[in-house]
Every structure is written in structure tokens, then in C-alpha cells.
Subunit: 643 residues, 2 copies
């Protein structure tokens, strides 16, 4: 039998092995800590290495995309040596991040070169005004307007609160000021003066002068991004559960809560709860960036129609009742003072346009962020939140619907669920032989709970490695202490109390599983019905774009395994993170993006699922792992049949 | 000696008298209660009768105008019988009101035929909207805008507070609504939705649907007029002392008060004080007319620049310091909610344009009300308030100034001063022989104090009948108990405690006299300097228009006698009451009037008196009764010289 020299990088150790040796055995022999959480079945992809040179044979490349293969990646547990070879063993973290099936939520980059002078509606206009004299004694406002006119700015509207400070600001700055002017807005074309700052403040500035915020009000999660309006970059972000959760988990229960009490008390409570969340996030961002509330001069807000109604204090009652009509799809711009946002009181607050009762500005903004309006490819875009909102189409046509998934994928409504923050289990692999899990925890700390992406992975692994049947029932007869009956019925122990930061076991209960099953079934049913409505098969979808705030990463393979996503080639999927807040940021930074999102909203057809009987049938069919009809999921069928 | 039959009407009694009999003696003989408060000197005009037919000779007609004479009036104490005659003795009240020298403040009448459809910026647009269905499921706002567009109304701006009520209002009215739309405003041309009312409310209405308020914020007196926007009529009015009086009597002391305290506390206090006064008046009017705050959908506000700054919460500090520059002469429209006015929160609040530091919208509105912008005659218009603001000019040119008179003519800063309401002494005659006064009291009740017109009359009578010298010193040696030394020095007792409603003597003290002297001197000095500034003599003034809230009537003859007004033929004078609030009402009712007032403001030249040394000289010269130079007042000279 021929022997071969296998050199491992970066250690430069060489192992001499026989032809046909499994690369994972070579690594173990060399003392390289090769984690095989899936038990060497080629599923988890954690043993991926890069073949720098030499001859190897890949027996399976289940976890690897065409791009990965082109880059030379191979799964050590599925690859045999056939000649001398140089193998690069990446750091574990690098592996996890690089594999394209992990499809990281791309960082925020503008799809255009930002030029504040033309893209931005907020302008800083430096003015050196002549001091008043007995012979030039026009009033301060006239003097300011005269100065603005001299540099081509049309007469500005001066809000009362700005007028109140004007006289002393002009004098304190000795008439050397910079006017912060909102040159235009959606449907308000008179320029508006937001305030004056001394010119000295501009020359002394250490960082950008003006900021904006993009706010995504999710039913479960509220996300805020702080954006530098001078350079057009997102400089910080924060997310938190929506304070309204205490009043119900989904939009329907929120609408009911808003209707409680006398004289709109319920509505006002809901408004102040979500405002509380937003303002807490704003204050956290401002503190972290050493900014004042007045530095934030613009806000763009997105959310589903119910969230937008509650944010504005407009009753959402009609959204819930046939014929499902919101009071307003596209609210007119208001000020931060009117909205109650703790930023510059005169900052314009634009709620982007929505489409129908359950398809709101989060979707139109998401569609903008993913570029639906300019793609030729048949694209399906889903925003997985408490509602799964789905858009199908391309630059020619767009059709949308919303299906009630519940908050499970955001880590709410699940015993040990949590948001995708430090301490959240975001990825899980289970060894099919031992039933023991391997976890990836955000921040590499002791786990505290499981976020959305972790829940998807966990459900998939339990099903694929056999701890759970296709109906979602845990198998109590495996002889593993991990599968047991707890206070809430059958459960799987993801982490023992001794390993967690809470000192309690982290578990997934049967009730949690049922919530997750309903959530994924609702979303899949949405895909089905939406495709049917335009007479297309899901296979025809060329690009499958996934947005959502349920984690920074989503394992698309596992999402297919549980039947959340259809069984399409992985290359068609792309996970884009919080597309809603990205779209809001784009609208904040670009005049044309704001026009585009309005165009998207006006062109998008809304399909009301509650007016469609086929939805319930599709939902029921999807209440299995991955689906009643296994034929729809050939890759999953192959896997569970050991193919 | 020939005898004649004099028949008196309406009693029809006949007296037979000799040629040359004094008519007042004939009346007394016939038992007609002919009051002669001036002692039969032909000064007070209270014994005026109308000569229906027959032959009489008027020895003097001092109190009678050409119009009075043409109408047959004669003063009984100055008229002798020369043949048979029929004499009509009018009721005392009729005499007082009819004599044109009393020149009643004319009631409010529009100088044009009011057509709300074209003159008014507030329109009621009835709309019958189709109910939403699954196939016509556009949002409520889009449905409303679609309905408005169908009747030619451009897309309306919907304020947040209106949006909040929209959904339930539409449904409660079963989509049969009327939209209250502000179609335009000074510089804001997007129509604005103020609210919705059910169509049933229109058909059921008993009175007008919508109202406006004209508000004049005087330094001393605040006046509000309630106006029916449907018929263009003023339906009620109310006035009250400005609550800021407690913080100083003139604008300078108000500016100082506004500058006190930390973080604008003084300014905010001044704002809330005047708002308190205005809102009290509004509430009084609404209650009296059985209206709700929401029925008042428009407000026009006038006042001097300091008052407008304080009303808006804008610091007036720069008005007081050279070069005397206000922060704003013409504030942009705001809403009642922003202003803090207790009317419809979305009502537009227009502060009319002012001209300079001390010539404000009260004057431009007054100029509008008296028609300065369209007269060919050289006209002098004065608004007598705490400041005396004066405009000289015609349709070609306008020059203005302001002189600090103090609040004396508004009844403030005078021991027994009061506003011109029930119980105020508004006219005084003194019998030169007995030094006893005769009083006319508003409401014909026991007197409570003296209003502005009463103070002018009192000062004039004391001077003309000899209780006071030209320097304003009371003569203590007359032997009359009316002239005495009181707690505050020399004083004249106008009414004894037993006659008053307060149970205390009503007096005019030397301090009061000095205040009145300074007030009238400041105003006369203003006339002088303003006329000089354009190289004209006061005699050239063809029309002399007097506005002010110091009483419903002003005795112009007596105002001349004290040197408040120049000694011109009485026909040239006209007293017009509160011209500021009338101008505000015009602007409220007429689009073109609003354009005109802006035009007046832009054309008016402002003369800053504190930048002019001649003012102080003119003021000093005017600190006598009627003036240092008696030659300027020939009619008064004749009177005191018994001419």
C-alpha cells in the first residue's frame, strides 16, 4: 500500500499515511483538535479544511457549496487521501464563518456612493450674517431668511420651538451660524429649519455633526441603527424586545389590547410601551457614541401596519376585522416631538409606506434593501418575524402576503428562548451516535438560552439524528439522559445546569417544538399559497432571500431540513439579516431610495390569506418534519433514508 | 315785548315766552328735567334739543358739529327764542349717543359682502365615501383623499392628532362625513385637514358650524372677538386686563421680567400669564355662546411686538436694546396646540405682521381696519394703548412711530382707574360755579371707578372749570369739599362713598394727574415728531383716526382740551374703538384683507423715537394743559379766556 506525506498548515507537521486514509483520522493522529459534533456524518461542516495542494477524494460534500469547493474546501470526515497533500486547517471560527451555507448577514453597505449634498435632505448651511444696526434693523428671522436666500435656500419654515431659541443663538454665535435645514420631505416641499449651531462648532468637530436613526418596530423585536449622515455609514445598532410583548405575543392580541380601557387608554398604553423600548435603545446608542439627542436630526421608521399604528397612537382596530383595512398605509411625515422620540424634537420622522393590513413598511423597506425593484430574476423574499411576510416577484411585478408565525423564531414564546445576543446558542450539532450536542454560543460564553437560528438548528438536528420523529415527538426510549420528561412534558436537554450561565438546564420542550412547528408550517404555507396565486411552482424561484432579526446567522440547510424553507439548491438562498432596518437606513440616506420604496409599495399586490381557504390546507400539510409530502424535500428524504 | 308759543315734544306742553328767552329757562319752567352739568356754559352738550320748526337763535354751538346743526340740534343753554317754535326734547341718553362729537366706536361691519366660499380659508367639504370591501380595501386615508380629490380638493396634510381620530370618526359616521379643510394659509399652500364631522351634524345644526377668534393682546388690555365664519359676523366679544400686569405696566418692564429666572423661567411665566388671560376670555365667550372649543377653528392674533414675542414664548430681549430689533416681525402660522390656545387644537393661529420694535400687528391691523391703505386723504391714525402707536400717511406712503404712554388711558396705574365696563365713569361734566361733577356711568349703575374716556373728560373739566391750573396742580383754595388733600396728596373727589358701589370715595389724585399728563404728552410729542419727520404741519392732516380700547366712547373735544389731540376741526376726528381687533377680524374673514395687511406692513416706514432727540423736547413742551405753546390750541385758548 502506497504511503503519502500529508503536511498540515499552519503547524507544518507532516503525517505519513496510507492511500485511502480518512483525513479526519489524519488530523486526530496529528493532535489537531478536530471537532466532529455530528459524529463524522458530513453534516455539520465543522471539520472543513482547505486542500492547498495534492490529491484527495471527497466522498461527500453535503455541507459545501460550489464556491466552497472551488476554494478547495473539503470535509475532513468525508475525504480520503490519495497522494501527497498540503492541508490548511483553519481556525474553527473561520470555518464556521466562511462556509457559504452559513451565509452571514452582510454588513450594511450602501449600493451607491453617498454624496450628502445630493442624496441627503438634511443640509448644513454656514451663514455669516451682518449684525443688525439702526440702519439695517430688520428682524432676526428676516435677516436669517435673507442670508439663506443669498446662498440659494428658499424661505424656510421655522417651527415655533426653533423660533424660540433663534434670537439668543444668533447673538451668542455673533451671527456666525450654520443653519440645519431639511430641504424637502416626502410630500412637504417647503424647506424647514431644524435649528442653528455656531459655526465654531463645525470647525471644532471631532466626529460627524449630524446623525439619523433607522428604526424597525417588530412585533417581538425592535431594532435601531444609528447612522452618520455625513459619511453615510451605520455606526452602531441595538435591539431589544418590544415592551408591548407583555400585552400579547402577536399583532392580533396587540390590537385587542389597544382596544381595552376607556378613552383610548389601551391604545395610549401600547404607544408608550413601544416608545419606551425605542427611547431606551436610542439612549443606549447615544450614550455609547457620546452623542446628544439633538445630534439626531432624522428618523425613518418601519414596521408592520399594526406596529406603525400603535407607534403613532392610531387605532389599529380595523386591521383585524374584515375587510382588513388599515387607517393609514403611508403616514405623512411628523416630527420627533409629535412622535415622542427622544431625538432632536424637530427631526422629521418618516414612516415608510406599507401595502395592506399585514404587509407593512418593514416589507417595502426590506424589498428595497434586497433590490427587488431592480432584479430580473424571479425572487422570493421573506421577512421572518412574528409574522412571516413574503414577497414574490421581480422588477415587473410583486405580490405579497403575510402569515402569522408567532414569535418563536425570535426566541420568544419558547421556554429557554432569547434574542440573538451574548450567551445565546446560535448553532447546534448533535452526534447521532451519542445524542450529545455541540453548541456555538454568541460571544463564546456559557450559554443562557437559545436564539432563533439555534432553535432552527436544534429542531433540525433532533429530527435528522433521530431524537425526534417526523411529527415532532421526542423519542423517550433512546436511553440518553438528554431526552427526558420534564415539568412541561417531554424535553431535550441542550445544556446542563453546570454548563450554563443561569445555573439551570437549558431545554427544548414539546410545547416549544409545537410552537416552532406551527411557525415553520405557517411560513411554508405562505410560500405555497403565494406561488399558487401566480401559477408558479416554488422550484421556479431563482433567488430566495431571507430577512429577519432572529439571529445574525441562519443555517439554511437546517431550515430546509425542518421544512421552513423549500428544498431548493443552496445557492439560491441568501440570508440578509434585518432587511427592514437596512431598507429604512437606505431611505434615510438616499432621496432616490425613498422614491423607490414608495414605488415598491404602490406596485406591490397584497394577497389577504384569511380570504383564501387554500392557506389552511397548506398549513396543515406543513405541520410535519419537513412536510407531509416528503417528495417536496428530496434532499431531506435522501438524508434520513441514509442516501 | 312780543310773546311766542313754544311747544315742547313729546309732552306737547306749550309755554308762552318773551322774545329772547333762553330755551333752557323755558324747559325748566315747563318742568322738563334739563340737566346742565356744565353750569349752562354750552360746553357739555347735555341740554341739546332739536328745533322741529320755528325761529330760534343759537348764541353758541360749541358742542355741535355741522351734522348736528343740519339735523336741527341746538344747545338749550345757548339758544334764545325769537318766534313760535316746536322743540323736541330727546331722551337724555339719545342726546349723549347722537351728538357726533361723541363719535361712537362704529359697530363691526365688513367693508365687503362676505362669501365664505371665496373669502374664507376654512371650508367644509361634505363627502359620501364608499365603505371599504375586500375588493376596494385601500386604507382610510387613501379613501378620504380619493373622496376629496373627486370634489377638487388637493391632497390634504393630515396632522397626527387628526389622523388618530380618523378611523373611528369615519366608521361612526358610516362614511358620511364633512371634512373641515384649511385650504391655504399665509405661506403654507398645502391644504390641511382640521378634522371630520358627521354629515348629520351639518343638517341638524341650529347655528353656525365654525367660528374664529380675533385676539388683540394689549400690554394692558386683552380683547377677544368671536366671529361666525359662516356669515362673517362678530357675535360676541370680551376684554380683560392682561395677566402680565402684575409683572410690570409697560413693555420695557415686561421685557425685563421675561429675562428673569433660570432657563427662560421668566419668559415662560409671561407666556403663561397672557395665555391664562386669553383662555379665560375664550372660555367666557364659548360658555356664553354655548360652543365647544373645537368649534373655533381659526385665530388671528395682533399685538405689539413685545406682546407677540411673549405670547409665542420668544424672548423679546433684543427689542429693548439698540438697535431695537425684534426676533420676528411676522411669525409663521402655528397651530392652537402649539400656541396653547384653548380652541380646536389644529386651528391655525396667524400672528399678523408687525413693522418694527414697537410698531406691531396691532397697528398694521388697525391701519387695515381704518382703510389707510386705500385713502387719498392725508391721515393720521393713532392707537392709544399703553404705547401710543401712530401712523401718518395715505395710500402712497406710511410712516409710523411708537411712544410710551403708559397704561393710564386704559384705567391702569390710576388709583380709581378701571376698564370700560359696567360701573365705569365714562364721561364727566363739572359745574364751574359749584365744582360739582355730573357723571355718566356705563350701565347706569353706581360707579366703581373711572375708565380711560372718563379720565380724559375729568382732566379736561378740572382744567376748563378751574379746579386745576395749566401745570396740572389742583387748587386747594376753592372752598369746595371736592378738592382736598388725601393720603396721596391733593385729590379731586369724583364720587362720594355713599354714591359708589364700592362704598369708598372715587378720587383723582395728583399722582394720577401726573401719569395722565405724561401719557398725553408722550402721545402729542409723537404726533409732532412724526409730522416733522415728513416735513408736514399737523394742520395738514385731513383725517384723524383714533383707535384704542380705553372706552367705547371718547369725547374728542375734551381730548383736545387736555392737549392729547391737536386742535383741529372736530370733523376731522373719528373715534373707532379697538381698531386692532377689528383688523384682526377682517384678516380672519378675508383672504384679500390678509394680503393687504402684509402689504401695509411691508410699506410702513418705522421711525425709532429713541434714536431721535427731538422727541424729548416735544414731550417736555407737551407736559402742560393743553401745551406750553397755547398758540397751538386756539380753541382751548378762547375757552379758558372766556372767548
Amino acid at each position: 500500500m502506497t504511503t503519502h506525506a500529508v503536511t498540515l498548515q499552519p503547524s507544518n507537521a507532516t503525517q505519513v499515511v496510507h492511500t485511502g486514509a480518512l483525513l479526519s483520522d489524519v488530523l486526530r493522529a496529528a493532535g489537531v483538535d478536530g471537532a466532529l459534533p455530528c459524529g463524522g456524518q458530513g453534516r455539520c461542516g465543522r471539520c472543513a479544511v482547505r486542500v492547498e495542494s495534492g490529491s484527495v477524494r471527497r466522498r461527500s460534500a453535503l455541507r459545501l457549496s460550489a464556491e466552497d469547493l472551488a476554494a478547495g474546501y473539503a470535509l475532513a470526515c468525508q475525504t480520503v487521501v490519495e497522494g501527497d497533500a498540503v492541508i490548511v486547517v483553519p481556525k474553527q471560527e473561520t470555518v464556521e464563518r466562511q462556509l457559504t451555507t452559513d451565509r452571514a448577514a452582510s454588513a450594511f453597505t450602501l449600493p451607491f456612493a453617498y454624496n450628502p449634498a445630493t442624496d441627503q435632505t438634511i443640509q448644513v448651511v454656514p451663514l455669516t450674517l451682518p449684525q443688525p444696526t439702526l440702519t439695517d434693523s430688520i428682524d432676526d428671522v428676516a435677516r436669517l431668511q435673507r442670508g439663506l436666500a443669498a446662498v440659494g435656500v428658499a424661505p424656510v419654515k421655522i417651527p415655533l420651538s426653533v423660533l424660540r431659541a433663534l434670537g439668543s443663538q444668533l447673538r451668542e454665535a455673533e451671527w456666525q451660524v450654520a443653519a440645519i435645514v431639511e430641504t424637502d420631505n416626502w410630500n412637504h416641499h417647503t424647506p424647514r429649519l431644524l435649528g442653528l449651531i455656531p459655526q465654531s462648532a463645525i470647525s471644532n468637530q471631532q466626529s460627524a455633526l449630524l446623525y439619523g436613526v433607522a428604526i424597525d418596530i417588530g412585533t417581538t423585536t425592535v431594532s435601531v441603527r444609528l447612522i452618520d449622515l455625513e459619511h453615510g455609514v451605520m455606526i452602531d445598532g441595538a435591539s431589544e424586545y418590544n415592551g408591548q410583548i407583555a400585552r400579547g405575543e402577536d399583532v392580533i392580541s396587540r390590537i385587542i389590547s389597544a382596544g381595552r380601557g376607556e378613552n383610548g387608554a389601551g391604545l395610549e398604553e401600547m404607544r408608550s410601551l413601544v416608545l419606551g423600548t425605542i427611547n431606551t435603545l436610542l439612549s443606549r446608542l447615544l450614550q455609547r457614541q457620546h452623542l446628544k439627542a439633538e445630534d439626531v436630526v432624522k428618523a425613518v421608521v418601519v414596521g408592520n401596519p399594526t406596529m406603525i399604528h400603535l407607534f403613532l397612537g392610531v387605532t389599529p382596530a380595523s386591521i383585524r376585522l374584515a375587510p382588513f383595512v388599515p387607517v393609514v398605509n403611508h403616514p405623512q411625515p411628523i416630527t420627533a416631538a409629535e412622535a415622542g422620540l427622544a431625538i432632536h424634537p424637530q427631526a422629521g420622522v418618516d414612516c415608510l409606506p406599507g401595502v395592506g393590513a399585514y404587509v407593512g413598511a418593514d416589507i417595502t423597506a426590506g424589498a428595497l434593501a434586497v433590490g427587488l425593484q431592480s432584479t430580473d430574476a424571479l425572487t422570493l423574499f421573506i421577512d421572518v418575524g412574528t409574522n412571516g411576510e413574503i414577497v414574490l416577484g421581480n422588477r415587473e411585478w410583486l405580490v405579497s402576503c403575510a402569515c402569522s408565525a408567532g414569535p418563536a423564531f425570535e426566541g420568544a414564546g419558547v421556554v429557554d428562548g432569547m434574542r440573538a445576543t451574548r450567551g445565546a446558542i446560535e448553532e447546534v450539532w448533535i452526534n447521532s451516535a451519542t445524542h450529545e450536542p455541540t453548541l456555538r454560543v454568541i460571544g463564546d460564553v456559557a450559554p443562557r438560552g437559545i436564539c432563533g437560528s439555534g432553535l432552527i438548528a436544534l429542531l433540525a438536528e433532533l429530527f435528522i439524528t433521530g431524537e425526534m420523529d417526523r411529527g415532532g415527538n421526542l423519542k423517550l426510549d433512546l436511553g440518553s439522559p438528554r431526552v427526558r420528561v420534564g415539568a412541561h412534558g417531554p424535553e431535550y436537554v441542550v445544556a446542563w445546569a453546570s454548563e450554563t450561565s443561569t445555573g439551570r438546564d437549558i431545554v427544548l420542550t414539546k410545547v416549544d417544538v409545537d410552537n416552532l412547528m406551527r411557525a415553520k408550517a405557517a411560513i411554508y404555507a405562505g410560500f405555497t399559497v403565494l406561488a399558487q396565486s401566480v401559477g408558479l411552482e416554488l422550484e421556479a424561484v431563482e433567488r430566495f432571500l431571507i430577512g429577519g432579526s432572529f439571529g445574525q446567522y441562519i443555517n439554511i440547510e437546517k431550515a430546509v431540513q425542518i421544512g421552513l424553507l423549500p428544498d431548493l439548491p443552496w445557492e439560491r438562498f441568501e440570508f440578509l439579516g434585518n432587511t427592514a432596518v437596512k431598507g429604512a437606513a437606505l431611505a434615510l440616506l438616499s432621496r432616490s431610495a425613498r422614491t423607490e420604496v414608495a414605488d415598491i409599495a404602490s406596485r406591490m399586490t397584497y394577497l389577504e390569506l384569511s380570504a383564501d381557504n387554500t392557506f389552511y390546507d397548506a398549513f396543515t400539510n406543513a405541520l410535519f418534519l419537513p412536510h407531509t409530502d416528503l417528495g417536496c424535500f428530496p434532499s431531506v428524504a435522501r438524508l434520513i433514508n441514509g442516501g
